[in-house]
Symmetry: none
Subunit: 214 residues, 4 copies
DNA sequence: GATGAATGAGTCTTCATTCAT
DNA sequence: GATGAATGAAGACTCATTCAT
């Protein structure tokens, strides 16, 4: 009983330190944040910190890892031909975007850490982020290929295009959520994103404009 | 003569140190790079560095500033109704994208610094970057508004959409140039980008697909 | 108990570092002393020093400040008409001089720091010393004015004369205590000082000599 | 001719650099002054400085040395029984004090350097100053001994008393000339000094007061 | 488990002096 | 002789991590 209570207690404490670190890192970034900052935010002693985490770097990694997993779990592979009553591919896509933006919005601190403070810390972390984004890219790319196979999407370089989409999401989240430039309804932003990437920005008929493109 | 030669020599030395710093920063990032790294890359003594630059931070700022100015100068405001024989707005847009991607590609080190290592260093630098990107956003937004006024662009939230475009550029440059994931012809990437943002990803007629969007 | 012991321990450690710094500064002066010198004298690590003091300058200031306060506290304002059984003004004066010389003598290191090494370090410190000496001057001056009012002291410029007295004390302490030129009984030096400043150096009757002065 | 002109020119330049250094050192002290400060004050190039002086320390030493010699030359050994028409010992003493104070007053910068900035720089310089002051002490002491031999001065420890006199001079010069606390006629200060040290501060008859001293 | 005092490697920056032109 | 660019030794300070209590 005591050990179980202790374990619970221990988990709670860990959680508290993680939360404190998240706030500190989100506020000042990784290098500007000292272990002392986390200590006072968590109201614990120096030694206690190292009882729960191996290093400043380790707690940062863990914070990021948890968030990347959460983000990942909100992004579902599109089912191209859903059973009747199930969401269409477009609806599934919209769901992915909405869940992603919603999570970033709910966890504004983690959004700041992911999109700003975790960038360029060192090669290892860059690699971890690259891996995550590559996975996202691969999912978008796969959906695009499916769309092309089904004749719904036009011929394109799906890998390149996936980068446009990912970039649009990251930049938008950074501007709207991290920098809080304005706070429109995120659902509307998602709709705008879908329209932009799916039908583009030109009016109908695009054909004549398209001619102008070449 | 001597003084002029000296001045030239001095400018050259400065340039050399800037170049060494650029390589070092691009390779290891700001925090991982020590002044000693720059010293040995430039093959100069400690004191010499401080003869030309005030601090490690100052040389980083200068490197970035020069590059931002160069990038900026490659992005021209679109002329909506050019004289005959002049580039059309679409061609102007393509020019902006090509110049930007080309500069990033030629200055791969600076691209890495701008897109990766300069992110999240501290509030001041974040603010400088935000200022730059906000200016780019404003230019894209303005072009979109013009397009809407002229009936060429569909109704949209031009500020939000500008973020999609900027994000697409940044992510693509990061992936293709900084990470060197693959090195397609950049002009083709630019074309793909124009097509994606202008006419979207769906096949014609989009109308029925668009219906699917709502 | 542990925390109290810790606090005591901490105070002791602080004291030890102060003592080491005092020895180092007294030996080599402020600029010749490095933090490393203090470190090895106190046998502590670099970081430990900064755990207790903000900077090399701060510990020097503190050392000096403590000593100035101690000196100050040994200098009492003269009571012109003491109750019977209380020390006469002359005895009070002698007491001030004795306490001052005794403290300087007991704290030979601090005497060296005050009278030699703290001089001319920078404007701020010069100002602090000036403030202290001005206070002493003011006390001497006040006693002189009282003496003049009471008809015991001859007419003079008390501010100027106070400078003679202070100078005599400083120079004597510097020579006897800091430079250790010889170590007479300090009490005898004090008596000599009182005689010199009170009745002068000429034999009786001074009148004829005094004539020679004009 | 040219070489002589060159030599003159060279001497003039040396002089100019010495003057610039004097101003700089007087203003900021030895450690706060950089060679660069002297350079810009003298309007010469870095290398030129080392053409005329061996080091920052050397120029400081030279400045001080010149001044100590000048001070020394103004202090004459007292002639106890001057020929008729020649100044009496008291007049000679007054002359010494006046010349000393006058020189310090005319060379306020050097006074600041001697009395403030040259103190505690390092052992070597301290030794040089000590030597100078010891010589002054010896002269005062000798005069006192003569006075005692002649029955003019009361019995005292002349070495100790000489320190009182030297200290009075130094402190007074520091306060009046370096700190410029007030600028009385220096001749009056000298008279006050003579009166104080010769006949003391008590009114006549001192006998009864003297009693109070014991 | 918790604490916080102690550690010392790591870095930036200054500045007197040298030396090639 | 004059110049000023280059040098590099020296020194202060920070902060993540350890460990005795």
């Amino acid at each position: 009983m005591r050990s179980k209570g202790g374990a619970l207690e221990k988990a709670r404490r860990r959680e508290a330190i993680l939360g404190a670190a998240r706030t500190v890192f989100a506020e000042k970034g990784y290098h500007q944040s000292s272990v002392a900052d986390i200590l006072s935010a968590a109201d614990i002693a120096r030694g206690t910190f190292y009882l729960y985490f191996d290093s400043k770097r380790a707690i940062f990694d863990e914070l990021l890892e948890i968030f990347l997993v959460a983000l990942q779990s909100g992004i579902r592979i599109l089912v191209p031909r859903p059973a009747p009553g199930e969401p269409t591919p477009f609806e599934q896509l919209r769901g992915n975007l909405r869940r992603t933006m919603a999570l970033l919005n709910e966890e504004r601190e983690m959004a700041a850490i992911l999109l700003n403070h975790a960038v360029g810390i060192d090669r290892e972390l860059d690699a971890r982020l690259a891996e995550f984004y590559d996975r996202v890219i691969a999912m978008i790319e796969r959906a695009l290929r499916r769309g092309m196979d089904m004749g719904v999407a036009r011929e394109c370089d799906p890998h390149i295009v996936a980068g446009f989409v990912l970039g649009g999401i990251k930049e938008t989240a950074h501007r709207l959520i991290v920098r809080e430039l304005d706070r429109p309804q995120l659902d509307e932003v998602v709709d705008e994103m879908m329209k932009t990437y799916l039908v583009g920005l030109l009016t109908q008929p695009p054909a004549e404009n398209e001619a102008a493109l070449s």
